[in-house]
Amino acid sequence: MIEFQQVYKTYAAKGREIQALKPIDLEIPAGRIYGLIGHSGAGKSTLLRLINRLEDPGGGRIKVAGQDVTQLNASELRAFRRQVGMIFQHFNLLSSQTVADNVALPLKLAGEFSRQQIRDKVQRLLQRVGLEDQANKYPAQLSGGQKQRVGIARALATDPKILLCDEATSALDPQTTAQVLDLLNEINRELGLTLVLITHEMDVIRRICDQVAVLDAGELVEQGPVSEVFLHPQHPTTQRFVQEAEQMNEEKLHEDFDRVEGRILRLTFKGETTYEPLLAEVARQTGVDFTLLAGRIDRIRDLPYGQLTVAFKGGDLEAARQRLQDAGVHLEELR
């Protein structure tokens, strides 16, 4: 578990102080994928880099597995960093070294392994990320997705317990992004690693994260399970991220409202209810008519969900509401 207690960070730039991170409290549970989302300059990278102390905090405590990492001396810090892997937006591979040598580097630096051990380990890691036949190529000969796989293999070399991902998919096309996210998902599942993942795309959060924190101008404005934050965003910044991800256009939707009669509700289904013929059943039993205005059925990590904007007309609306609520559907009144 990673714990932030009143951690803040200021940078001095040209005599001015930039408050990159206001005092923040945060708990990142072990073994989960934790997402950090925010606009450019929100302080995401700063927060992430505090975890492995690439940045020193201005104040506060950062605890990893109970250990206060702000108190580590230089050699303790190096040992600690070996338990924390990191991958980057621009991969940061050594262009002068082959794929195999890049993956071998953390093992070489650790200085505890024989050549044979390193060779075996590198081979296993490359197999794990599906690059066993690229071992002798140089990074420049690989595609972006392949480079990030090398980055992942390298980050896993010292068997870390935590993997930090700074915009790991932001330089990749959508299909490659999906593949890399799948790989990260597998790694979390199979190795039980804690992943902390930065992004500015809500879609990345929705696909693989369990929990999410939203950063806005150095402040933590919202946090919680992705299913909560994504389906019921509270803060305007979060709402905007969700709308972007859902390709929702609130204005157009409100124009549509004028063209239908009756009450308008947003229904949110989670889990198995998503697949039940609930809406039709309720309509039949209570005599309400309904018009679908907008909607999406998808998954949040593994959780199926549906969110529908529906106009109801006639019949017994109160009874319909009651039945939907009894079935576990969340209702939000829009008009």
Binding site: R78, A79, F80, N92, L93, S96, L109, P139
Partner: protein, 221 residues
């Protein structure tokens, strides 16, 4: 044709070529030996780098700049006492090497510093995140990544040294430059001048193409 080259003494030219090569080889060796660490030090203590040391960097930087701005011929004369102290003579190949090294080391160190600055910061960061010591970062990441740049710097330095050796010839160091000045210039033996200049040109060309080849070989981008 024969008449034009009447003053050419093949043995003399061969000896002078050897002297030039010795001066070049010797001074290049020591320039790399001192210049590489100095370049690394300049880089590390520079602004916003791993060991940023404002005052130290400023002083080091100033010394480097002073040595670089001193005309080589003056450096040679100023250095005579020190040269004699080190090598026992201020003449010949041995007498030429100390001023050549002092002249070329700051130049090479600056080029090394620049080559190291070209290395992507992200690479240093990634290596730090692996738990590397500063020494490991230098030897396992910075130097290998800057290798093509350092080879190019070595090429430029070697070629600069060739022209310095020619100047050193003017004050008794021997070599092709000495020949060009004593015979070609002072005795109006144009043919000697042409041959020595041609030999120097061939040397420069060889160094450049060797350097370029190595850079290409070690560039994986």
């Amino acid at each position: 044709m024969n008449q034009f080259f009447s003053n050419i003494d093949a043995y003399q030219i061969w000896m002078a070529t050897q002297e030039t090569l010795w001066m070049l080889g010797g001074s290049l060796f020591f320039t790399l030996l001192f210049g590489l660490p100095l370049g690394v030090l300049l880089f590390l203590t520079g602004p916003r780098q791993l060991f940023a040391q404002k005052g130290f960097y400023a002083i080091l930087s100033l010394i480097t700049n002073i040595l670089r701005s001193l005309p080589f011929i003056i450096l040679m004369i100023v250095m005579i006492p020190i040269t004699v102290l080190i090598t026992g003579t201020s003449l010949g190949v041995a007498g030429a090497i100390p001023p050549l090294v002092v002249g070329a080391t700051p130049f090479f160190a600056r080029l090394v510093e620049t080559a190291l600055r070209e290395v992507d910061r992200g690479i240093i960061e990634a290596t730090q995140a692996m738990g590397a010591t500063t020494k490991q970062i230098i030897f396992n990441a910075l130097l290998p990544e800057a290798r093509p740049g350092i080879i190019a710097a070595t090429t430029v330095t070697a070629i600069t040294l060739v022209s310095y050796t020619a100047m050193a010839g003017a004050v008794g160091a021997g070599g092709l430059g000495d020949l060009a000045i004593r015979y070609g210039y002072q005795r109006f033996q144009t043919d000697v001048m042409v041959v020595t200049v041609l030999l120097l040109l061939v040397l420069v060309q060889l160094l450049q193409s060797l350097g370029d080849r190595l850079v290409v070989h070690f560039s994986r981008k």
